[in-house]
Structures are given as structure tokens and as C-alpha cells.
């Protein structure tokens, strides 16, 4: 069920109503029921995948949890007779056992994920179709990349001893399948999300109203902007658009993906807020970033955090890496010191790449990001020197220049998503330097992308609005809180106008085509 379907809205409305009417003890069960329904809607055959994750996660975390408990009990009991060394060896032994359970669980789950993703690409796709697994080739089970990572993060946390395992399998199932974040995240941490899911929530008018406002804003971005510009993005992928056309594609794609992804997240977070559940932010106006590291702290934050906590840090502070660091330092000096970080970065971005898709272009996408991060890190002293000399940073325009530079760079990296054929991508990138066809802006080509002049005007106005709102948020914080201080009538009027704008200008439904209504035969 898509967020933009009428069914989803009706579903969410009904849920909200029931949620605050039933006894608070039952709220989490209602959420679980709703999540199951949501998942079943996508297709019954996919339910088995999420069940595998729930069951294996439940088993592994509870076994590890019990072993840790036994360990603590044992140490407490024999505190007097155990030396520090004894304690260490005992703990290490328990940890070795735990690790087996952890790895078992991770292997099972990531194999399922790899299988599901792998069957989408050739030659495995053809093999699956031959063996009757063809339903798996139609698309990924709903939200599998998201709930899988969220659950595995939880298993690792239990292994590390930072959270206690959930004993109630149904509560765990809710944590895994909580439907608002099933489609596109955010990837929440167990310690933050699970207690909220199961806590009783009383109706709080302000929270519900804020949540709904945020949903409305999300729908505006998704329906008015993302779904409208999607046509043009698809058209610009056509082979005739090289040079400036490619640059345009990268910008259009940036608009589409931003409006779509942040809009969807707004709907997710907004709905959750209306339910009394706070989810982590996933975006903080990423296009205002001035460098790539900042960009990745502001774009798809929860994925970045996940990668940092479970891939980047564990690799970079592992014993072999520390050893490597020591030896490399002797040989290469300061660069050697950073070597482990770079190795870990490459690994992290490789995983991030294949998480997005098992095709070469996503791996290239990850590596490009990694390359620029490392590059900017290595060049940092150079920059410092440069700025020490020229004092550009004091200039008012320099900040905007940095933002624009970052925006264009990230656009060009991101657009590789659209080209499964990596060669085609490089060809287009090359054409940036050879083809100067900026004239397509006014030679009528823009009108052949499936958008009318009115569409462009809507898009333009909507983007101005989104930009202004972002600017206010960047400078003054929450716009909703700001509006709250204004007269009720003004706030209501603004929200109503926004609502009407979504209804009238959203790209949804069958679309009115007058010629269909012209009577012609029966």
C-alpha cells in the first residue's frame, strides 16, 4: 500500500481513531495488527520473510541474553574466588559462544536479503524463473532492506550488551514490522523505538496536530513535486540528453529524490508523532551542506548511523586494523595513521552501495562517495593553507558557493543510480565536457519531457516554497512551533490552503482527460 493511495489515508485515519479510543494497554497490539494488515496488503507470500527475521532475531537475542545473565550471575556468585584474569577468560569464553549465535543469526538474515536482492539481477533472475521462484523476481519483499538492518542492529546491540532482549515475541514483531517506517525507514534503534511502541499513549491534541501537519507537508512534497517531476526524470534518461541535458537530469533527479524521500519520511514521522511515537530524523536539510562529510550527516541519517556503528567502527578499531595502523605508521607516517580509517571507509561504502542494489552502478555510487570523502580528508591541510592565504571564508558569498558546489557534486554522484549500465554513466559524464547544449533550455526540448508550462510553474512555485520553509527551519527551527505562536485563524488558513493545493495540484488518481468523456459510441 503506497503512502499516496487513498486506501492508506483511510487506513491511517481509522487506525488513529481506534488507537485513542481503545484501552491504552491494547494500543501496541493494535499497531501490530495494523502492521500485519499493511504487510498482508503487499502480498501474503512475502510474510514468510519477515517471519524468518522475527523468529531468528527472537531466538538469537534471547539465547544471548540468557547467556549474559548466567555469566553475570556466575561472576557475582564467585566474585571472591575469581581473579581479574579468571574473570576475563570466563567472559571471553561466554563471548565466543555468543558470537556463534550472533553470526548464525546474521548469516541467516543477510542470506535471505542477498537471495532476495540477488534474484533481481541476471543470471540469477533467469534461474529463479526456471525453478518456480519467479514470484521473488517481481520485486523485493516490502521494506526488507529496512526492517532487516533495523533488526540486525538490535541483535548486535544485545550481543554487545547495550540493550536487554525483548522477551515478548509479539512486541519484538512490532519493533520489526512497525508499518509507518516499513517502506522507506528510518532505521530506528531498538533502545529508542521499542519502549515507545509499547508504552501507553494518551491523546495529546498538539502532538496529533503537529503530526498531521507534518504528514500534509510530506504529501505536498511527494504529490505536487516528486510525482510530477518523475515523468521528466524518466524522459531525461533518454540517450539523446547528453551534456547539459545530463546536468539537468542530475538536478531534476535531486529534486525528485529529495521530495520523494523526505516527503515519505515526513509522512512516516508525522503519522508516528500523531500516534505519540517519536522517530529519529532522517534528513536535516541536506542540500544546505557545505562538504561531503556534512552532507552524509544530514542525508539518510539513520542509515549512516547504522553503517557507522555496525560496520565502520567495528572494522576500524578491530585488532588487525590497530596492528595495521601501527606498522603502516612506521612506514608511511601520518598517512599510515589514517590507513585503517580508509580501509574501513571503503568497506562501509561498499556495503552501503550494495544495500541500495546489487548492480555495478550502486557499487560505483558507494565508491564515488568514498573517494570524495577520502579526498577531502587528505586535502584538508591544503584547504587550510589556501584559506589562510585568501580569506575567502569571510566573504558573504562563499558559503553559498560551497553549498552550490556540494549540491552539484552530490547530484552528479547520485545520478549514477539511474544508469545500471555504468559505461553509459561515464559516457554522459564525459559529455559534460564536450557537449555544450545549454540551448535545450529554450529550444523547446523542455516541453517534450512530459511536463507542460503549467507543470513547470507549479514545480517552480513549490520549490520556492520548500526552499523558503527550509531556510526558516535552518535559521529559526521548527516552523510548526513558530506557526503555533501566530493567531489561530492565520495558521488554519495557511494549512487549509496547503491542503487545497495538495488536493488540486497533486499528481494522483486517474487524471482527467476530457476526450474520454466525449460521447462517441454507446
Amino acid at each position: 500500500m503506497q503512502f499516496t493511495s487513498f486506501g492508506f489515508l483511510a487506513f491511517a485515519a481509522a487506525l488513529l481513531l481506534i488507537y485513542y479510543l481503545i484501552p491504552k494497554k491494547g494500543q501496541w497490539m493494535l499497531l501490530l495488527g495494523a502492521s500485519c494488515l499493511f504487510y498482508l496488503w503487499a502480498g501474503t507470500e512475502y510474510l514468510v520473510f519477515i517471519l524468518i527475521t522475527v523468529l531468528t532475531t527472537y531466538a538469537a537475542t534471547n539465547i544471548i541474553g540468557r547467556r549474559l545473565q548466567q555469566q553475570d550471575a556466575y561472576i557475582a556468585k564467585h566474585k571472591a574466588e575469581l581473579s581479574r584474569e579468571d574473570r576475563k577468560t570466563y567472559k571471553a569464553k561466554v563471548k565466543r559462544g555468543n558470537r556463534i549465535w550472533l553470526i548464525g543469526c546474521l548469516v541467516v538474515n543477510f542470506s535471505v536479503l542477498a537471495l532476495c536482492k540477488g534474484l533481481l539481477i541476471q543470471p540469477f533472475r533467469a534461474m529463479a524463473q526456471d525453478t518456480g521462484l519467479d514470484f521473488l523476481t517481481l520485486g523485493l519483499p516490502l521494506g526488507i532492506s529496512f526492517y532487516m538492518f533495523q533488526s540486525m542492529g538490535y541483535v548486535i546491540d544485545v550481543y554487545r550488551g547495550t540493550v536487554r532482549p525483548e522477551r515478548n515475541i509479539f512486541r519484538l514483531a512490532l519493533f520489526v514490522s512497525y508499518f509507518p517506517q516499513l517502506i522507506q525507514g528510518p532505521i530506528s534503534k531498538f533502545s529508542l523505538l521499542a519502549p515507545q511502541l509499547c508504552a501507553p499513549h494518551s491523546f495529546d491534541g498538539k502532538e496529533v496536530s503537529f503530526g498531521l501537519q507534518r504528514m500534509l507537508w510530506g504529501y505536498f512534497k511527494k504529490l505536487v513535486v516528486a510525482d510530477r517531476i518523475a515523468v521528466a526524470v524518466a524522459a531525461l534518461k533518454g540517450s539523446e540528453f547528453t551534456g547539459f541535458g545530463f546536468l539537468l537530469l542530475s538536478v531534476f533527479y535531486a529534486v525528485q529524490i529529495y521530495a520523494d524521500f523526505t516527503g515519505g519520511i515526513d509522512i512516516t514521522i508525522g503519522l508516528s508523532q500523531a500516534l505519540g511515537i517519536r522517530l529519529p530524523e532522517n534528513f536535516i536539510r541536506p542540500y544546505f551542506s557545505k562538504n561531503i562529510a556534512e552532507y552524509w550527516r544530514r542525508w539518510h541519517i539513520t542509515l549512516g548511523e547504522w553503517m557507522k556503528d555496525y560496520i565502520f567502527y567495528p572494522i576500524s578499531v578491530s585488532q588487525p586494523m590497530l596492528k595495521l595502523s601501527k606498522s603502516a605508521r612506521k612506514r608511511f607516517g601520518n598517512f599510515g595513521k589514517r590507513l585503517p580509517v580508509y580501509v574501513a571507509s571503503v568497506a562501509t561504502w561498499f556495503v552501503t552501495g550494495i544495500w541500495h542494489g546489487l548492480t555495478p552502478n550502486f557499487i560505483l555510487w558507494g565508491m564515488l562517495n568514498c573517494f570524495f570523502i577520502v579526498l577531502s580528508e587528505e586535502c584538508a591541510p591544503l584547504y587550510t593553507k589556501f584559506h589562510g592565504k585568501f580569506h575567502l571564508k569571510d566573504k558573504a558569498w562563499y558559503g553559498s558557493f560551497e553549498i552550490l558546489r556540494m549540491f552539484m557534486l552530490m547530484n552528479l554522484i547520485r545520478v549514477v543510480d539511474l544508469f545500471p549500465d555504468v559505461g553509459e554513466y561515464w559516457h554522459r559524464v564525459g559529455s559534460l565536457f564536450t557537449t555544450w547544449n545549454i540551448s535545450l533550455l529554450w529550444d523547446g526540448s523542455m516541453m517534450k519531457l512530459g511536463l507542460t508550462g503549467l507543470d513547470y510553474a507549479i514545480l517552480g512555485s513549490a520549490l520556492v516554497l520548500i526552499f523558503s520553509v527550509s531556510l526558516v527551519q535552518e535559521k529559526k527551527g521548527s516552523l510548526r512551533a513558530l506557526l503555533q505562536t501566530k493567531p489561530d485563524a492565520l495558521r488554519w488558513a495557511l494549512l487549509f490552503v496547503l491542503f487545497v493545493a495538495v488536493v488540486l495540484m497533486g499528481s494522483y488518481g486517474i487524471g482527467y482527460n476530457a476526450s474520454n468523456f466525449i460521447y462517441n459510441q454507446f
Binding site: 523485493l140 510530477r228 515523468v231 507543470d455 507549479i458 495557511l494 495540484m505
Partner: protein
């Protein structure tokens, strides 16, 4: 008028949202496709595109007649039809035209500013399919030419190939009608 309304709406929308028309068709088709980057769960596999297979044809008046082909060369070759009707087109805007050439009927639909073949059916046994079947052929001959896959179990063979559908209807074990249709997605 349109401009006034646009202007009015513009004013009404204090948020400086310009009033414009959403594109009618295209937008809806793509709403389902969320970007891969953000939502791997929605990743759609690349569709394999097989080159279009050639559809069923038959030959009359020295021209090969294929579905969706442009009608004008066929009409030129066939000369004056014995009968001709036209009616407002149902699925397309414009006129559906039906020609009768004595041995077969030809039905066309407009696309762009040209007519294309929408359907054709035989009227007598002077025309044969490219596979040699005509009105009066036996069921055995049909099966020899087209196999048994398209048999509907009672009175007809319905076979799809490329952008065409061939329907052969039998009465008492003998071919009584042969119909070609253009196939649209």
C-alpha cells in the same frame, strides 16, 4: 478565462503557489516508481526487452497485410472497396473505417494522421493465411499449420504472435471464419 482562474487561484493561495495544470497522463504511470536510492524495497528489476516478433499476416492483391501496418498501401493495392462504412472510433479519437473487398474485410483505426490496420477477416475461400489455411480447411490442416496450443476446446483456435491475434473458428470440423486482430498491451 483560463488565465483568470489561474490568477485567482494564485492570489487565493497566499503561499505563492502558482496555479497550473498537472500533466494528465504520464505522471500517474510513474508515481509507483520510487527512486532506487532511497527505497531499495521498491527496486524494480530491469525489464528485458525482446525484439518485437513479427505477427500473423496474409496476402491479398499482391500485398502482405499485417496488423497495425499503415493502411494506405493496402488500400491502394486493393482498389475500390465493394462496401465501406465508418463510425466514430471507440478507443481512439477519430474514425474507425471498415472496407469490404469481396474476399475479405479490413478494419482500420486512426493513429496520428494515418490509418492503421486494426482487424481483418475473410469472407470467402479465395484468400489464405500465410500458413495456408482458408475457409473450408479441415481441423487437421489447422492443427498441422498452427499446432494445438491455441485450441479452446470447442470450436476455435486462438493464437497470439507478435502484435497480432489470429482466430480460426470452425463449424462442424471445417474452418468457417478467419479473423486477424491487432493486439494492444
Amino acid at each position: 478565462m483560463k488565465k483568470y482562474i489561474a490568477l485567482l487561484l494564485c492570489l487565493a493561495m497566499a503561499l505563492s503557489l502558482a496555479a497550473c495544470s498537472p500533466s494528465e497522463n504520464g505522471a500517474n504511470e510513474t508515481t509507483a516508481a520510487l527512486p532506487n536510492d532511497t527505497t531499495p524495497s521498491q527496486t524494480q528489476p530491469q525489464q528485458e526487452t525482446t525484439p518485437a516478433e513479427k505477427g500473423f499476416t496474409f496476402t491479398a492483391g499482391g500485398v502482405e497485410i499485417a496488423m497495425k501496418a499503415e493502411a494506405s498501401p493496402i488500400l491502394a493495392a486493393m482498389g475500390e472497396p465493394k462496401s465501406y462504412t465508418e463510425e466514430t472510433s471507440c478507443a481512439f479519437t477519430g474514425l474507425d473505417k471498415t472496407y469490404f473487398f469481396g474476399s475479405f474485410y479490413l478494419n482500420t483505426y486512426p493513429q496520428g494522421d494515418k490509418d492503421h490496420v486494426f482487424a481483418a477477416w475473410f469472407a470467402d475461400d479465395t484468400v489464405t493465411t500465410a500458413e495456408g489455411i482458408y475457409i473450408g480447411s479441415t481441423q487437421a490442416a489447422v492443427e498441422a499449420a498452427y499446432g494445438t496450443d491455441g485450441y479452446n476446446g470447442s470450436n476455435a483456435y486462438i493464437i497470439n504472435k507478435g502484435e497480432s491475434k489470429l482466430t480460426i473458428i470452425l463449424t462442424d470440423g471445417v474452418v468457417s471464419s478467419i479473423v486477424y486482430d491487432a493486439v494492444f498491451e
